[in-house]
Symmetry: C4
Subunit: 198 residues, 4 copies
């Protein structure tokens, strides 16, 4: 599902009409005028990619699955599958006087998304679905990261009303948090592939 959402992002990039206000536009001009679409595509691509990797790693810490887990997970997937819409809004408004609204809406959807991550984490912990061999340090690190998410995204949303690009920058800074959030204590390879001889 992450794979599908990430690939659908490109469908929102479309070359504008070749006239604007009566003037003929070259293809270069029209391609260049799409910079908000490229920026929004890049931002959302990497956010979904990082969430994809994080989700995959999180699932590796889970030892069992029950219905509450499935619905908390479904809620998270809902917020992920929604991302192409705020991305399209962002792309459409970033170069207009209303960019603040669009960035705030974009950041706001990640507030919801980070709350869904928190709910999934709570469900996993409360219902005893964690593997028993997960290191306490790992647990602490994940809990802190999942608690920081909603706060930083809320901050980005508020800032976006006054300084849209600063809001976007704060939003993107959370990538670092997630990238650095190692689900494993080891620093080496995440896992060995299991493969037959090539």
């Amino acid at each position: 599902m992450f794979a599908i959402a990430i690939t659908l992002l490109v469908l929102e990039i479309r070359l504008p009409e070749h006239t604007a206000g009566g003037a003929e536009l070259t293809v270069w001009t029209r391609l260049a005028a799409l910079w908000p679409s490229y920026l929004a595509f890049l931002l959302s691509f990497f956010v979904i990619l990082i969430m994809w990797i994080n989700h995959h790693e999180l699932m590796r810490l889970v030892r069992a699955v029950d219905y509450p887990f499935l619905f908390a997970n479904g809620l998270l997937l809902l917020t992920v599958s929604f991302v192409p819409f705020p991305t399209a809004v962002l792309a459409g408004q970033l170069a207009t006087p209303e960019s603040a609204t669009a960035v705030a809406f974009y950041c706001g959807t990640f507030v919801i998304n980070s709350l869904a991550w928190g709910l999934l984490w709570l469900t996993i912990v409360r219902r005893g679905l964690l593997r028993s061999d997960v290191h306490p340090t790992t647990l602490l690190r994940i809990r802190n990261a999942y608690a920081a998410g909603p706060l930083v995204y809320s901050l980005a949303t508020v800032v976006a009303f006054y300084r849209p690009f600063l809001g976007l920058a704060i939003n993107a800074s959370l990538w670092l948090l997630w990238i650095r959030l190692c689900y494993h204590s080891s620093r080496g390879a995440l896992r060995e592939q299991e493969r037959r001889p090539a």
Copy 2:
């Protein structure tokens, strides 16, 4: 396929033009005016999510697969992959005087969908594709649920003509039926994950 249909839903949400009847609209106004799209997205996302989980659980009760099964299953997938269209109709008409028609159409497609579930179940039972260790209580519970589906969806369709939002509420109430339909007698974890050490 459930994953794809569920992710395509967001493509039907699009920001309307920034003028309506000559008046300029802010981005907030346009985002707020999309509430029928958000509602339709939520409704269809959760319906497909619940069907996805149910389908997965149902497949776990099946011990073998034959051609009639594959085609009954294909018919069910057809009705699932069709869902984005009535969802788009619903989103487009919910705030108009013709919402009754759109809600009835939306509920009507789930009448067909629930009949396809029934056909798949009949095929599985009649052709002896069930695992032998499925508990009789489980069978009875599934049969009752699959029989109730078409009735409640038909009721929702009829009600929709007079009270569109009541029709939608009845439609959504079936979520509870499906969520509560446990395919397992145990109350514990659905299954243990089979994973290598993290």
Copy 3:
């Protein structure tokens, strides 16, 4: 890939504008006017479903994979992933005076598709990629079916110019050929599921 192509079909069904030639149209009228879209959706859904099952069964007869196989397979996937376009053309033109052209184009794409099936089959046989335990009767049955495909689809294409709906009917009649094309001599279950206890 079959799963994706089959799910994308629904994106081509869109409710037409609520005015036509100055007259207001009700939602029912507009939903009813979409019958060519529903018909085209059904036709293409089942064609892709049947090809999906056939492809899956064919792959089970293959014991090894090499580059020519991968490219013959890729060519087949190309013709499958193209199907949503002739489907959209068919849906758009079936109720117009130019339906003959659209049906001929639709059937014509399946001529190409059936030639791609033939090429894949030839590649598998010529390069010795078949399992050794495939029964000669099965081989003969597949060869005949794959030879009949291009002929019947060509017939459908020619007929479509004079009698569009007859052309469509011939096209759809091939479903029976493919459904009946059992890749196994046994009449029983295709295969037992391999599953852990529920």
Copy 4:
């Protein structure tokens, strides 16, 4: 993800309106006028197909996975999932006086794409993620191919400004490079299937 990107390509092919400059157009004329779309679809389909196969083969040489690998891989997937957009630009402009710009843009995206392949390869080699039993000749062959990619794509981009179709031909000529790039020393079957008896 390759599967999704390759299947989304067809969504960019759309039948143009049935009038142009006041003249009525037949469906045949409109279908024929789409030749740039068909050409762009074919080009991009085969490029993604070949990248898909290459990626699959490359992954078979990898013995372990770490975070830098996941992000280099993500960057590559980004450039692949972007392909439908330059394809749509190419399709829209190939029959216009501005085809040079569109072809240059199309080829330019593959310069980026081939650099992402190079980065992924570097990451795999530098971080010791390669299987130990990969033959030195294979390594040399891959390194040369991955080094040639950006050069030939850059050449295609420059040529495109003067001779668009020659640029496209150079671009497509790289298919041969990639098709010929065997990741295995053996000339026989890539691998035996592991299957239960049919």
